[in-house]
């Protein structure tokens, strides 16, 4: 009669992992599998965002540009709007013209969250559980603040102004959605929703990952494992989100 224990011991899963140079044991890039794959995932994600921003450039060049001075600017669906005239609102300061101030604040919040993330990774290298927890919490806080700011920005953009925009057929348009847009051509609003929306979705996924990392750190999962590499991988993702925002900021809000 076969002894089940013996069968198990002889099974392939108990063989020592192959670690020779030509058996997959070689690490030419000197990074672990997980980190390398995170890099390649981010590369593919960068292609997606680059496609979005390239589309923005193409659609913008297909439309007429506004050629007058910024002071005389009036909203019209005939030409592409100037961003500083579209994004000039600040929460609590209704009706005031404060160009780009809110997006500047959002940019700073995200950059600071990136710094607190680096500090969490750095604390992980020192196996300092308390510091990792502290910096992860700060990152979560700033990330959530950024997402809240974006929610406000979207609400403002969708609701629009009191004066609205009078269309050629005499109808009035207030705010913007995927079909109408009081700030300019409809595609301007579409691209705003798609690009900032896709970025916001990435921030949200990042917050989910950070929440998981915080819980696992608190439970001591990474400490027992002997390293905090998971924080590094999530950190790579989080910095990428910040990186994308830097480009969105330039192409959508500055140029």
């Amino acid at each position: 009669m076969a002894n089940p224990t013996t069968t198990l011991t002889n099974s392939a899963s108990y063989e020592a992992p192959r670690s020779g140079t030509w058996d997959g044991g070689n690490e030419p890039f000197k990074v672990s599998y997980g980190k390398l794959m995170m890099w390649f995932f981010l590369l593919s994600d960068a292609f997606t965002f680059a496609a979005f921003l390239t589309t923005y450039g193409m659609v913008r060049h297909r439309h007429l540009a506004y050629t007058g001075t910024a002071a005389d600017f009036k909203f019209s669906s005939a030409y592409w709007p100037i961003p500083e005239k579209v994004f000039n609102a600040f929460p609590g300061l209704h009706g005031m013209d404060i160009p780009l101030a809110f997006v500047a604040l959002m940019t700073m919040i995200l950059i600071v969250s990136s710094v607190t993330m680096v500090l969490a990774v750095e604390a992980g290298h020192r196996m300092d559980k308390d510091d990792v927890q502290k910096w992860l919490l700060w990152t979560l806080l700033f990330g959530a603040m950024f997402l809240g700011c974006q929610a406000w920005e979207w609400t403002h953009f969708i609701t629009g102004s009191e004066h609205g925009l009078k269309m050629a057929d005499g109808s009035m348009v207030y705010g913007a959605n995927l079909q109408v847009n009081e700030y300019g051509p409809v595609l301007f609003a579409d691209l705003f929703f798609f690009i900032t929306g896709f970025h916001g979705t990435h921030v949200f996924s990042g917050l989910c990952l950070l929440t998981y990392a915080f819980i696992a750190t608190t439970n001591g999962t990474f400490h027992k494992r002997g390293h905090y590499e998971m924080i590094e991988k999530i950190g790579l993702y989080w910095h990428f989100v910040d990186l994308v925002w830097v480009f969105v900021f330039t192409f959508f809000y500055l140029i």
Binding site: K30, L43, T54, H61, L100, S114, R126, H239, V246, I255
Partner: protein
């Protein structure tokens, strides 16, 4: 697995004897990014919109991207092979951008005439 193996001692209850955090390069990168962003805002309000201003914005953005990728994402300290694996495919995107913007201008010209 962990490439930055902790080099310090542990107390009996498993807590690391904390080394000093090395935050200087991180804060330096932060200072650059904040400084460049502030300069971009200054330009946005003092310089009239032009191709030159847009070019300056794009160059400054690439500088900011450098600090994020090199320092925050640590790519600067990885092997040459990994650095090129990431950067070379990204360079192809510049071609995509130039090609499609030219395409967009051509479509605009076809719709609005040469005055576009």
């Amino acid at each position: 697995m962990a490439h930055h193996a902790p080099e310090h001692e542990y107390t009996a209850d498993g807590h690391a004897v904390h080394g000093k955090a090395n935050v200087k390069p991180i804060l330096k990168a932060l200072a650059w990014i904040v400084g460049i962003t502030a300069f971009e805002f200054l330009l946005a309000f003092t310089m009239p919109a032009s191709t030159l201003r847009n070019s300056i914005f794009i160059v400054l953005t690439i500088f900011k991207a450098f600090f994020i990728v090199a320092e925050f994402m640590h790519l600067r300290h990885e092997t040459k092979g990994l650095i090129w694996s990431i950067l070379v495919p990204m360079a192809l995107l510049v071609w995509l951008l130039v090609a499609l913007i030219t395409e967009g201008s051509a479509v605009g010209e076809a719709i609005f005439g040469a005055a576009h």
